[in-house]
């Protein structure tokens, strides 16, 4: 076991810090050290996308990033999306369109949708599918996820 180092970063607008080994994955650091368990782990090989977060404005799979690499980073996780008890329009759209079932992949889906809509506020269906390609869902057949992202884009353009 290598020596631990202190990592400082900003998560959901709050400055946080904690210790990590060189091999600690960012997702484990966020969940176990910072205690933000909304970010989930579905594979640890970078396929499923359950651990998707926004790091310095870009969506990343946090199982593919080492905690060390997040030193000084600005991170947004699912917990940071709703403001003052009000849901983000993407969250509202997922709720209204039954865009989830078991909810395990949902934080990752929502964070990927957040990134997609930040870059492309009016995506076509094809662009939504490409934008969410890295996020597996076993429950919904993606049908209502696509519908939710379309609805979110409309809400956000208003």
């Amino acid at each position: 076991m290598a020596e631990k180092r202190r990592i400082k970063l900003t998560v959901n607008g709050v400055e946080m810090e904690g210790e990590a080994e060189p091999r600690t994955l960012l997702v484990h650091f966020i969940r176990d050290t910072l205690g933000l368990t909304g970010t989930h782990i579905g594979c640890d090989t970078g396929h499923c996308g359950c651990c998707t977060i926004i790091m310095n404005g870009v969506s990343v799979k946090s199982c593919m990033v080492l905690a060390y690499q997040a030193e000084g980073a600005d991170i947004l996780t699912i917990e940071g999306l709703a403001k003052d008890g009000k849901l983000h329009p993407i969250q509202e759209a997922f709720w209204e369109n039954h865009g989830l079932q078991c909810g395990y992949c949902t934080p990752g889906q929502i964070m990927s949708a957040y990134f997609l809509l930040s870059r492309n506020p009016k995506p076509t269906e094809e662009e939504i599918r490409r934008g969410l390609e890295g996020n597996y869902c076993r429950c919904t057949g993606y049908v209502n996820i696509i519908k939710s992202v379309k609805a979110a884009a409309e809400k956000m353009s208003k």
Partner: protein, 809 residues
């Protein structure tokens, strides 16, 4: 359909049942506030990692944990020695000799599949536990693995379980009607060999356990994501030889299951042993590679089928020999080899059926009751057979299906096995699905497309989703099995503020039971779903349960809701009795509305909280003979009968939802890749409680079917027994790019056997396996290709095309 919403005694208007309200569970899940097992932290908790076998079949000669024990941070290590100290082998449900099969939560003396646990380590950090696994030395003596059901039956085949003496663990012949007469009268006999491949649930959340043994009280608390924990409770109690009052099982939010999470009791026990040995709580979260390798795949099956048919496509009878490869241990088997009995003739009306059923152990991962369990294999076999009947007679497969379907006026229909299909209109559903893909238009265009070298085909299939199972069917495996019927328990109470609280023994993982229960209860009490609190998750110390409790086998809308309705009526009756006393009226003259009980047609009312006040704090005002408190329990029992062991018939399931699927596909002859051009589903699950939730289940089971038909397979090396699909890179979980838009329409045929006319829904039986196989065969019909495998990735199709073209030259 709209009348008789609730019981005859208490007619209640339907306001919330049938309404697509937003799911009550979702606000916590979309904000990252869901609580899954991996989110649980207990003070002083350790983290576990498992060492798994690299061999498919090998003797364990020696296990040396001494180096691992010395690693700083390691607290406890469990191997076969500890397991034998704590556990007896799991009981089996098969007749002799396979009842002697020894199965534990860890490999004992021998490993029987690659990925079987051999040791478990608990340490202060997960990474340390994983490091320690690498320091454990295991000496193996590799044995030849047996990786195929037919090979396993050969006299010189290696034995997976020497204690059984054969790899054939269950064999039975079921003979219904007069099969020999049907074959004697046939114009033609069609023969086929078919293979149904291994795929699985692969939920995004893998298996997870937190075990906490309290030395003070002797209570073992197991937090887990098992979807049928009360089934496990009995197994754990028997294997640990521990009184079940000392075992508490808790399931929080669960990240998908699809049947795979029924079998996690082996992990629940292994991690519990670690916790008992370490004297500290232990968490274990399976990683994805483990999840794929450790089994919980669907039943793999080989079929030798013969169909006796008339020239006009009428099916007279079917004979099938089935070989189920159930993997290395039985666990829930051989139930999967039996469950065809729920859908014995599928949607068809032939009366003569002979099933020669064989369950066989091999050195693959053990199978689990995966979505559509045991029925999909059979329904897919029937569908392939009927399509080949049509093609070999020169008839249109869709016409032959429509001709042979059970007719709506024949419902309820008793199938050859005694399973009674409750209601439905199969021909209309199929035609509707075909209209949704513009069937006539595609058929008209098809010859021209073929001329252009475009292989476009149409497929359609209808599968039933049998729900609410009669456990007595397992007596057809072994007459002494002490199980029968089906039941659910619900507890309901009104608190002293007039709020209604419900606890149901179920373990939902996406089925939104909190929402549907609230809808049903709201209608009974004249309140809104927001006025009803459904206790989330499951806790065996909080939720009333029976041995059938859990979330499996398409049934909550029947069994769970049956219990909820029973409890609601009991509670309502008690409230009405007290309110009648307070209002000086007769209970039958009262109505429940907006949190009050009122005398009909007047403004004389008492609020729920006023009634509750008498019940809880002011009981000298209660009417004579009324017990204080407002808390009731109701246990629902399914109206089943025991099987006829002579005839081997049983009313195996209570309700029959069904889905008709139609699709258009195009096969690229250069690559063998299949593209879905259009996909439509017509679903009928009786009266839907929440159409949003039903539609979600339809989408999901359709995706599972498309994934199984075209993408996912647990491929094993025949030589080494290694699982080759060991990550999501190889086990092709489809993404949003692979799954097309799925058009859905509904029909409603209320079940005559349930109070609300509901039917269980959720498994959907993965109909795309049938529709896509049919569409590919149709697309390639100019080449005369016959689809005989349920998995059709590009490589297989490419080879079939090349072979067909070679034959034509």
């Amino acid at each position: 359909m709209t009348e008789a919403l609730l019981s005859k005694e208490i007619p209640v208007p339907r306001k919330w049942v049938g309404t697509p309200i937003k799911a009550k569970e979702f606000p916590r899940l979309i904000t990252g506030q869901g609580r899954y097992v991996d989110d649980i932290k207990i003070p002083n908790m350790l983290y576990a990692a498992l060492l798994r076998s690299p061999y498919a079949h090998a003797k364990i000669k020696r296990i040396d944990t001494s180096k691992a024990e010395k690693l700083p941070g390691v607290v406890a290590i469990v191997t076969q020695e500890d397991v034998l100290k704590y556990c007896k082998p799991y009981p089996q449900i098969v007749p002799p000799p396979a009842d002697k099969l020894l199965d534990y939560c860890i490999a004992v003396d021998k490993v029987r599949f690659a990925g079987e646990p051999v040791a478990a380590v608990a340490a202060t950090e997960r990474a340390i536990a994983e490091d320690a696994c690498e320091l454990i030395e295991v000496e193996y003596e590799p044995l030849p693995p047996v990786m195929d059901a037919e090979e396993a039956l050969k006299p010189d085949a290696p034995l997976v379980h020497e204690e059984v003496g054969t790899n054939l663990v269950w064999h039975e012949v079921f003979d219904y009607g007069d099969v020999d007469k049907a074959f004697a009268e046939a114009d033609k006999v069609i023969s086929l060999k078919l293979h149904h491949h291994r795929y699985g649930g692969a939920p995004t959340e893998t298996h997870a356990v937190v075990a906490d043994y309290d030395k003070g009280t002797g209570v073992l608390t197991i937090y887990c994501n098992n979807q049928m924990p009360m089934f496990c409770m009995a197994l754990i109690g028997l294997s640990f030889n521990m009184p079940t009052d000392k075992i508490r099982i808790i399931t929080p939010d669960i990240g998908g299951g699809f049947g795979s999470k029924i079998l996690s009791y082996t992990y629940m026990m292994l991690i519990s042993i670690l916790a008992m040995k370490a004297g500290r709580p232990v968490k274990w979260m399976e990683d994805r590679r483990e999840n794929l390798a450790s089994g919980t795949h669907c039943n793999e099956a080989t079929f030798y089928v013969e169909a006796a048919v008339k020239k006009d496509g009428t099916i007279l009878g079917i004979k099938a020999k089935t070989l189920h490869d159930v993997g290395a241990y039985l666990r829930y088997e051989p139930v999967g080899a039996l469950l065809w009995i729920q859908v014995s003739s599928g949607p068809y009306r032939f009366k003569n059926l002979r099933m020669d059923v064989n369950a066989i152990v091999t050195n693959k991962g053990p199978v689990a009751p995966i979505r559509g369990y045991g029925r999909i294999q059979h329904l897919w076999m029937l569908e392939r057979t009927v399509e080949q009947v049509a093609r070999q007679l020169g008839l249109d497969p869709i016409e032959v299906k429509l001709k042979n379907y059970v007719r709506p006026e024949e419902m309820p229909y008793v199938s050859p096995s005694g399973a009674t299909y409750d209601s439905g209109d199969y021909p209309t559903a199929l035609k509707k699905a075909l209209q949704m893909i513009n069937y006539d238009e595609w058929r008209r265009k098809q010859p021209e497309l073929w001329r252009q070298g475009r292989f476009v085909g149409i497929g359609a299939a209808l599968f039933q989703d049998s729900g609410t199972n009669n456990f007595a069917q397992v007596r057809l495996i072994y007459k002494n099995n002490p199980f029968s019927g089906n039941s659910r328990m619900a507890e309901m109470w009104m608190d002293e503020f007039g709020r209604i609280i419900v606890a149901v023994g179920s373990n939902p993982h996406g089925q939104c039971h909190e929402t549907v229960v609230s809808q049903v209860v709201a209608d009974v009490f004249g309140v809104t779903p927001d006025d009803v609190f459904v206790v989330p998750g499951f806790d065996s110390w909080v939720h009333g349960w029976t041995g059938h409790s859990g979330s499996y086998a398409s049934q909550f809308a029947v069994s769970g809701i049956g219990a909820v309705l029973g409890a609601a009526k009991r509670l309502r009756e008690k409230i009405a009795t007290i309110a009648a006393h307070m209002l000086k009226a007769k209970p039958e003259d009262l109505e429940f509305k907006e949190g009050k009980v009122c005398v009909k047609g007047t403004d004389r009312c008492v609020a729920f909280w006023q009634v509750a006040n008498l019940a809880y704090r002011n009981n000298l005002e209660l009417p004579e003979g009324v017990e204080p408190g407002l808390r009731v329990i109701y246990t629902w029992k399914a109206p089943f009968k025991l099987p006829d062991l002579e005839k081997k018939t049983v009313n195996a399931t209570l309700t029959y939802s069904y889905q008709a699927h139609a699709c258009v596909v195009e096969v690229d002859p250069e690559t063998g890749k299949v593209k879905i051009l259009d996909y439509a589903v017509v679903d009928d699950c009786g009266v839907p409680i929440n159409p949003h939730i039903v539609e979600g289940q339809v989408h999901g089971s359709t995706m599972n079917g498309i994934a199984a038909a075209l993408f996912e397979e647990y491929v094993y090396s025949k030589d080494t027994g290694q699982l080759l699909a060991s990550t999501f890179m190889d086990y092709l979980f489809p993404t949003a790019l692979e799954i097309p838009d799925i058009k859905v329409d509904h029909m409603i045929s209320p079940s005559p056997f349930t109070e609300l006319g509901t039917k269980g829904v959720g498994e959907g039986s993965l109909v795309p396996l049938g529709s896509i196989a049919g569409a590919i065969e149709d697309a390639l019909s100019p080449l005369g290709v016959v689809i005989t495998d349920s998995h059709n990735p590009p490589e297989r199709i490419y080879r079939m095309i090349k072979e067909a073209q070679k034959k034509r030259k």
